[in-house]
Structures are given as C-alpha cells and as structure tokens.
C-alpha cells in the first residue's frame, strides 16, 4: 500500500548558489581516489593492490577483513600512484592516475527480461564482484550492508531535501532502464518490500514515473523529509535486532548498469553548488574524482579586493558533507559539491546586533524572517558562537520529525548509558537524521559526532 505522509517539523536552509538545471562539461579529472574513510563501519581495510599496479574500472582495490565478502573496486582504469596513510598507518586514500580511455572489467550481461530469472545468490555474488555492494547501507548503524543478512525491507529516498541538494530529475535523467533493473535486483534481496519514497510536494521525475516492483510512498514537508531514516521511521521503524537496508537512487542505477551492461560504471551527474561557485550547474563526473577541475576557475571573483575570501570546498552538502581540499576527491556517497566562504573572522558585537542578513531558525535573530520566506542566504563556515551546556529546550524536537527525544538521546550517549540509548531509539538514527539539530543548536554541540559515538558504543560492545 502506497502511503502519503505529511511532515511538519523541520527546516529548509535556503542558501545562495542552487545549481542551474543544465549539464555542463568540465575538463575531466586526471586522478581519482578511493577513501576508505567514506565507508562507515569499514573496520580493517586491507589493500590488495600496490603502487605501480594497473587496474581496470571494477578491479578490486581493497576489502574489509571484518566483512571480507565485500570488495571495494577501482572507479576508473589506470595506474595506482599512491597509497596514502596517516597516523598509525591508517589508510586514507588510494590514488589512481586515470587512463585517457577507461577500460572496464567485464561481468555477466543480462537483458531486462532475463534479470527476472537471476537467483538471489547469483545476484548477490555479481553485486559483490562488480563492486556495487557498498552502495547498500544497513540500518541500524548506517554501515555497509552485510551480504549474509536478510533485510526486513529496502528503502530508497527518491529526493534530497538537504540545502542546495541536486534535483534527481536532472541528475538521473535518462536512467529509467538502469533504475528499473536495479529495483528488480534489489527486490530479490529482501523478503519484504522495496520502498521508493518520493517528494509529495514536487512533480515525479521521469526516472521514477513508471517504476515496477517497488512500493511508492510520498512524503511532503521541509527537510529532513527526504532523509531515508525519517522515512523508515514513518513506514516501518527499526526495532532492536532488526535490519533494513537503504540505498540511494544513484546506487540503484549503478546496480542496474552492472547487470544490463556488465560493467562497473561509477559515473554520476553531480551538482556544483554554493555561493562561491561562479557556474553553479550540473556536470557528469566519476565518483572519487579529483574536484580541482570543477573548482579551479569556477570561483567567483573577490568582491572586496582587500580581503581575499577563502573558499571551503565541501564534498556533499553543508549539513552532512565533509570539507576537502581544493584538490580533494569526491566522496563515495556524495552527489554534489558545495563551495562556501570560509568563516575565519571576528565580528564586533556580532551576537547583539539586530540584523536581517543572517540566517537563523530561531526568531530571537530572525524575528522578521517571515516577511521574506524565500530569501536565500550566504552562509560561511563560522561556528557563530561557542559551545555551551544544553540550555534551550524544545528546539531539537521541532526540527526532528520523528517520535524521538533528541536531547535525551544525546545526553544518554554522552553519559554512555547503553540501556537508555537503546530505549530512546539509537537504532533509528544516524548522523544525517539529527544534522539539523547540529545546525540549530544554540549551544553549538557537535551533534553528529555524538550520534556516531553512540552508534559505535552500541555496535562494538
């Protein structure tokens, strides 16, 4: 049964720099990297290539000794140029210098009709070998799924409500066949339902229009209505001991391509967004690509000549993304990069001044913000205050459209009280679900970090 769920709680952060709905070609990246740190729960990565090896797109690069069936493969063909390690030899990046023309490992090809006859085991082994498995993320914990599990359902969020998020109607244009093939494969993996959750406030993108084999639900409301964790909470919440899987539409099409075309295709249309972007547009690139060709030359000129604004390059969106260098690499699960000003400055009496050009969820600052509900703001990376104890109450609840008490959950995690964490719903959240709390927090707590700490405590003890 399809469902329509209306959510009221939440907050849309409206920023300057939304991507125009056009596809622009940039100079292709020359280096690519796999970052084991992108995969949460990848505990003991073991590299199976060495510097100087040549690989094809789809060649295994590393695996997790704790979950050795899952392979992480090269996104492009080329030469392994560097295996970068950090402190305590922690594996940070495996860099590949790409060939001009990408050559692919070949996998078994199927047609749209023959996909239906693939068995569950055959589907799983091709997904594992073909490198698309890490697209499946397990709830609870938000880690890479375990192929030995049988999830109670699979959830796909068909829209992204994060600030400046890409519009899937643009990013996934023309992927109808691959998407359907991906859904057909996913259907084999679970005895439950494959849920495809779409935006109830917008037109259905053509890629999702005629999807079979999945239950289509609609969600309407402000961010985080597009977060799959919120959707699961309203459709079929996760209790202790249960496992569900989630996957992004990009992952679904990648699976579809693996089965229809027999290759690991890591290409993805991403959005270049943010107030510092000269051309905020969509472009086709490959996951793990170095972003310097997208960023260099695509930054706005300095408005004030005396202070050169430094740009923060973010792989992902401003709520859950990760700051990377200007020659850093696009994250595995990310479908946008955001360019915002760095906020390393002092402001005289900044906390006291009445102002209209600062964005705040709280009316103590944005009292008259209702006059211009669609105003877009330029936000920088300044913390805008200092960390304090929890004082204001009721705010986290008002941006969390789930039957969860975020402050109590966070306090239970801080106190490392395991029973309390379980009872308050730690299994239902990952970082992104409470990211908005981190944004609105008056006391500036690192909410997402705390949530992950809690999940780690529960998972590894």
């Amino acid at each position: 049964m399809s469902k329509l769920i209306k959510l009221k709680k939440g907050f849309d952060i409206k920023l300057v720099g939304k991507a125009e709905k056009q596809l622009v070609d940039f100079q292709p990246a020359s280096t690519f990297a796999i970052k084991p740190t992108d995969f949460i729960g990848l505990q003991r990565p073991k590299v199976i290539v060495s510097e100087g090896d040549t690989v094809k797109a789809g060649t295994p690069i590393l695996f997790d000794k704790a979950l050795d069936k899952v392979q992480y493969v090269a996104p492009v063909s080329g030469e392994i140029v560097e295996i970068k390690r950090g402190e305590k030899r922690k594996l940070l990046e495996i860099k590949i210098l790409a060939d001009k023309e990408i050559s692919y490992e070949t996998f078994e090809k199927h047609t749209e009709s023959s996909i239906k006859s693939i068995s569950r085991d055959a589907a799983i082994s091709q997904m594992l070998a073909g490198g698309v498995w890490p697209q499946l993320v397990q709830r609870p914990y938000g880690i890479v799924a375990n192929p030995d599990d049988s999830p109670k359902a699979i959830f796909i969020s068909g829209f992204d409500t994060h600030p400046l998020a890409p519009d899937y109607a643009v990013s996934l244009k023309g992927e109808e066949k691959n998407f359907q093939a991906g859904i057909d494969i996913l259907k084999k993996l679970t005895e439950g339902i494959v849920h495809l959750n779409l935006n109830g406030d917008a037109e259905v993108p053509s890629v999702f229009a005629n999807v079979q084999n999945a239950q289509v639900n609609k969600f309407s409301g402000p961010h985080p209505a597009g977060n799959v964790g919120v959707q699961i909470h309203h459709l079929n919440p996760i209790n202790k001991g249960e496992v569900a899987w989630t996957i992004s539409p990009f992952g679904v099409t990648q699976i579809g391509k693996l089965f229809l075309e027999g290759k690991f295709d890591a290409s993805r249309v991403i959005a270049i967004t943010g107030s510092r972007a000269k051309k905020a547009v969509y472009t086709k690139t490959i996951v793990g690509a170095c972003v310097d060709t997208l960023v260099n030359g695509n930054l706005k000129e300095d408005e004030k000549s005396d202070v050169a604004p430094i740009t923060r390059v973010i792989s992902g969106n401003v709520l859950t993304g990760e700051k990377i260098n200007q020659d850093g690499y696009l994250g595995y699960y990310h479908s946008q990069i955001t360019l915002i000003p760095e906020g390393e400055y002092h402001e005289f009496l900044g906390w006291m001044k009445p102002t209209a050009d600062k964005l705040s969820y709280h009316r103590a600052l944005g009292l008259l913000s209702f006059l211009k509900p669609n105003k877009e703001f330029v936000l920088d990376s300044n913390v805008r205050g200092e960390e304090r104890a929890f004082v204001q109450t009721g705010v986290f609840e008002s941006v969390t459209p789930m039957d969860i008490l975020p402050v109590y959950l966070l306090k239970a995690i801080m106190a490392e009280d395991f029973d309390e964490m379980e009872e308050l719903g730690i299994y239902e959240v990952i970082e992104e679900d409470l990211a908005l709390c981190e944004f609105v927090d008056v006391s500036k707590h690192p909410v997402q970090e705390i949530v992950r700490k809690g999940i780690d405590l529960i998972q590894y003890s």
């Binding site: 859950t320 006291m352 709280h362 004082v391």
Partner: protein
C-alpha cells in the same frame, strides 16, 4: 573597531597556554567574546554551516523583555513614595522627581546584583576553568526585579552571591542547575531576612518622611488574606484599603496596570505581559508554560470558589492573576528553560501546576502571602520527575511497536 581587535590580539598570548596570565584565560575570553564573535570555523566533518544564534543572543533577548518591567518599576517606586507621603496624588504629576527617585533607589540594586554575581561568576570561571555563563545576564536583572526597593544593598549582594554559588555553580553552571537562580536568591532573602521582604510589610520607600494618615504598606495579597480572616469580602477590602493614598489603589484595573506597592518589577501584570509577548514572539520562552501557568492559577481560583469557606477563597479568580508576582513569575521565572520541564508535554503540566500551587499557597497558608516563589521552586524540583514520565512514555511507545 580595528584598534580594539588589535588590542585584544596583542594581549591574547598573555592569557593563552604558557602565557603569564594563563589562569585568567576564561576571564579574558569572556571579555573577548563579548566584544567580538569568535573566529572558529566548523569541523571537517559534520554541519559546515551553523545557525547565527548563540546563547548570548538568547539571554540578551530575555533581558530586553524585562526592560518594560524595569522601567515601570523605576517609575512606580518613585510614584509609591510620593503617594505614601501624600505629596501628589496624580499619576503623572511630578514625573521628573518620581523617575529620579526611582532611579536613585533601583539603579544601585541592579548594579550591586550584577557586580556581586559577576564577580562570583568570574571567580568560578577562573578556578573551575570553564567559560563564563551567559545565564548571568538574565539572573543579574531578575534578582533586582523581585526584591523591594527598600531592601538594603548588602542583602542584595549576599543573596546574589548565595544564589549563584549554591543554586548554580555547585552544579556546574548554567544548564546544569536544578533551581531557578533568581528565585533561589529571593527565597534566601525571604527566609534569612523576613523583616525586609516577607510580603505583608511596608515596602514603600518613605525616606524618613511622615506617611499619610491610615497608610499601611501592605500588599494586595496581605489585604486579601486578612479580609479572608476577618470575614469582609475581598473586593470591598481591596477597594477600601488606603483610600487616603488615592481611591482605587487596589482596584482590579490598577492591580493589572501595577501602580501598587510591591517588589520593583513584579507589580505590573501589564508589563509582564509585554515581556511575555517579546519572549514568545522571539521564541525564547515556552508559550506553553506561560499559558498553562495562568490557566492553572485561574482554574485553581475557580476550584477555591467552589469550596469557599472564607472570603479569600470566594475571591474572583481573575484577581489571582493580577495580584502579587504571579504574572512576573510565570513569564520570567517559570520559563527558565534549564530549571523548567524540558519535554513539550511536560511543559504543559509544569506550568499548570505552578499556577495551581501558587493559588493554594496564597489562600491556605497563613505564613506566606506570596505563593509564586515557592511554587516555582517546588516545581523546579519536580520538573525532572515530570520529564521522567514523559520520556518513559516515549520509550514505552517504542517498545510496544517492537512487540506488535
């Protein structure tokens, strides 16, 4: 402002680790962050942008909301003196001298409260090595508003120090405390120096002058309570009280507006409501607590009417809302987010019970004419219990879902 910034940047190394004045870092930091918002940027992972609000902004908003009460209190202090000494009867006559006298009496109390509390804050910040709590911006203003203008300054200082240390710092500072700090200060005064603050005594500043004939400094609450004991209807007792100071001193309208003797900031229900509008419009205080607080007092007033055995119990419930400090307490004290109930359902219960308890204490307890102070402190203690059951209900829903 560049020179200020340069000055701070120049001094900063002195206070940082390894500097000469390293121990005073947090005192320096408080001053620096007061003048300039810090230049910290967000971490590599997690939210890359943050809401522009911070705790300082929240707290200053509360202070702004109290300004109407403060200004009203200043003028009223002067006005009451002129009334009691029979110099003028008209409200706006002698505006200048009244305002000046009010300032002369109230300003020192505000300054002493801020100074005494500020010193304790700074001392604790340096000793315990934690940042100075912005919560004191509010506490330092609340304390002067809930004491009478005649209170000796040393008592103001002592009460502030006591409250900041015992009600806040021993728990770890703003956010960790159980009791409302300003209410603790008032309770301390109330029990330690009842002669100056017990609520049925002369609170009007006479300044050595002869009071008018028939003058009594009794507050409306004391008059109402005595009426109950003596069997006179409360409304007529209120109406006939102190007619020498001008007719209708304790009439409903005047009680509402607040030209009556009482603590500096709490006499005017009207000004408290103006504050409430500011607090609710800015979203700083919970409207649920304010609404349910007034509703609780009104409902309990009705219950008292139903079971009335004396005239005070038979008094119209609307009088409870305008007499004494109920309005001020509900708007500014009960809504303190740290000591109040922290769950949304809990806030309804918490506010309601504050209103109910205030009326019960006022009407039935002969020793305390004012009920709001004890009601707020009492419910501060019970707020975690209310929350405990609200949280438990949330857990139960989750558990039931699992077993279905």
């Amino acid at each position: 402002m560049k020179f200020l910034r340069d000055l701070l940047d120049k001094q900063k190394p002195l206070f940082q680790k390894g500097g000469k004045l390293e121990n005073f870092y947090y005192a320096f930091e408080a001053g620096e962050t007061f003048l300039f918002t810090p230049n910290h940027t967000n971490a590599i992972k997690g939210a890359q942008v943050k809401d522009a609000v911070d705790l300082k902004r929240m707290m200053i908003t509360v202070v702004v909301a109290m300004i109407p009460c403060l200004l009203f209190g200043i003028y009223n202090t002067g006005h009451q003196h002129f009334l009691a000494t029979g110099q003028t009867a008209g409200l706006w006559e002698d505006f200048g001298p009244k305002a000046l006298l009010g300032l002369q009496l109230v300003l020192p109390i505000v300054i002493v409260a801020y100074a005494a509390g500020g010193m304790v804050e700074a001392a604790f910040a340096v000793i315990r090595k934690h940042p100075i709590n912005e919560g004191f911006l509010v506490t330092g203003m609340l304390i002067p508003l809930v004491v009478p203008a005649t209170l000796p300054l040393w008592q103001v200082a002592l009460a502030t120090v006591f409250a900041v240390v015992i009600a806040k710092e021993v728990f770890g500072g703003t956010g960790m405390n159980i009791l409302n700090v300003a209410m603790t200060a008032r309770a301390f005064l109330y029990f330690a120096y009842p002669a100056q603050i017990s609520g049925d005594q002369v609170w009007t500043y006479l300044g050595g002058k002869e009071a008018v004939d028939g003058f009594s400094g009794a507050t409306a609450l004391a008059v109402a309570y005595n009426a109950g004991v003596e069997g006179e209807t409360v409304s007529s007792a209120l109406a006939s009280h102190n007619t020498e100071m001008g007719a209708g001193l304790f009439e409903f309208a005047n009680l509402f507006i607040g030209w009556i003797p009482g603590s500096i900031g709490e006499t005017s229900t009207l000004m408290a409501l103006v504050g409430a509008i500011i607090l609710v419009a800015t979203g700083v205080a919970s409207w649920k607590i304010i609404v349910s607080g007034f509703a609780g007092a009104y409902l309990m007033g009705l219950v008292m009417n139903a079971f009335a055995v004396n005239e005070y119990m038979a008094m119209g419930p609307e009088y409870h809302l305008v007499m004494g400090g109920l309005a001020f307490g509900v708007v500014f004290m009960a809504t303190d987010p740290v000591s109040a109930s922290q769950t949304e359902i809990g806030k309804w219960i918490y506010g309601l019970l504050i209103g109910v308890l205030t009326v019960i204490i006022r009407v039935t307890n002969p020793a305390y004419p004012e009920g709001i102070m004890l009601a707020v402190l009492f419910m501060n203690v019970f707020a975690p219990l209310i929350d405990y059951y609200v949280v438990k209900a949330n857990k139960k829903r989750r558990l039931q879902r699992a077993t279905v």
